[in-house]
Symmetry: C2
Subunit: 272 residues, 2 copies
């Protein structure tokens, strides 16, 4: 028997037919699917920890996960063997040995999401873009998106979660990019709350349609009150694109948030 | 009753669940699906003519089609109404009135196709990229692709078709572009033969894997013999991206090809 080692992998999945990342009492989860594949490969139950708990129907291009295994197989072989048993809608990309203190979720310094929408009916992208037929004023959306960067309480743009004790996130950057009839909203933050990206997109689309002013969008953010949460954009437009592990960013965030709050828990990502 | 008018539309489809563009004795075709939708809307059988007869499993972003209808509905309403009855995997994009002598297939001056492949397993693009794990020498592929432009006989890169009387095509341009682990091969020609893009990609991949030299690829082209047709790349990497209607190009092609051949038939597109 070998000593167990910790492995880190990047995972891509098409969220269409999953109940989300996290194991559920019933339904097909990405975590459960990866754990089954690992159990088949290693012959023993293997817990797989992910960086972001993406919601039902949300995709990932750059989810990061880790697991421990006592195996003599090299990482390249493990990656190939996992892919050989995984269904087509989950793919292991890079897989490498990592240090025993690496934690996919708790060591992450930031996460990146992209939300795609299109203004025209599409067949080729019907599984990964939200179709919004209403005319959008992109300049106003960009003004509202520019209010988000900084350390803020995003309670108004989140669903309640019993496991989260504060709603402060540090938003590093946001961008609303328009190309022909499609738009992509990208965000990077130290953590994301449950439903957060989809609620932000829901609010931004209201701004773009003229149903809400940029000022009202800012007021909702300031209110820190779920009574004002906009309707969530549908999950299929959302992709977890990357998880970053920058020790400097990580230390800085710890500092900022410790100053703001006493007794905070470890950072975590509650989907989006 | 109104006089019939001719309408031209751009059509996008996900070819995964179709037997191809063309009506078949059995199976779900894109043409048949559009004709059913038109019949439901106009109350009478409506023939829909497409520019390119894409094969089973091939997608389209910019297929062009025309049909005649005696209706008082305006084009915008017709487009919306067709989309309302079409299944999610076919979408009408622009729809406009056109002249009575416009023919989606016979008036087209050129067609553009794109073939996508990736060198890494993918879940999000499993329906629209061919996964090629073998290492590819892209520079050699690019040399081979550069042999294609010009007026040439592409017999060696086509499947037999009883309705085609010559295999001369004018290839305007080709490009093999690499971005991270993905490649896209784009081509523009006055016409394409049955299986042509997929046979070209099959051959180029053999060149990239070192199974065939650039010189041998050129020899196959010169041979004008189906005995040398390379294995076809799978259809799901292929997309018909655009059909162009440039009267000057069209006249030039007629000239070139008339010089080369006497008694040629109208240009046509036999998939790819």
């Amino acid at each position: 028997m070998h000593d167990p080692r910790r492995f880190r992998m990047t995972v891509e999945y098409d969220g269409t037919d999953f109940v989300g990342w996290q194991l559920q009492p019933s339904g097909r989860s990405v975590q459960g699917t990866l754990e089954e594949a690992a159990e088949r490969l290693f012959g023993s139950a293997t817990r797989v920890h992910g960086a972001g708990r993406t919601d039902t129907g949300v995709h990932a291009r750059g989810q990061v996960a880790h697991f421990d295994a006592a195996t003599r197989l090299d990482p390249h072989t493990i990656g190939r063997a996992l892919n050989a048993v995984l269904p087509a809608d989950v793919s292991v990309r890079d897989l490498a040995v990592t240090s025993a203190d690496f934690h996919a979720r708790f060591s992450a310094s930031s996460r990146e999401y992209a939300y795609s929408l299109t203004q025209q009916r599409t067949s080729l992208h019907r599984r990964d873009r939200w179709i919004v037929y209403a005319r959008l004023e992109h300049r106003r959306i960009q003004e509202a998106a520019a209010l988000l960067p900084g350390t803020r309480d995003f309670t108004s743009f989140s669903k309640f979660s019993p496991t989260v004790d504060h709603c402060t996130c540090h938003m590093y950057e946001t961008a609303w990019m328009v190309r022909e009839e499609s738009c992509v909203f990208t965000l990077r933050a130290n953590r994301f709350l449950k439903g957060m990206v989809r609620a932000l997109v829901g609010g931004l689309v209201l701004v773009g349609r003229g149903r809400m002013t940029v000022g009202q969008f800012g007021d909702i953010l300031e209110a820190k009150d779920r009574a004002f949460t906009p309707m969530l954009a549908p999950p299929h437009g959302l992709v977890l694109t990357a998880v970053n592990y920058d020790p400097e960013d990580f230390a800085m965030m710890k500092g900022i948030i410790s100053e703001l709050r006493a007794g905070m828990r470890d950072d975590e990502d509650e989907e989006s």
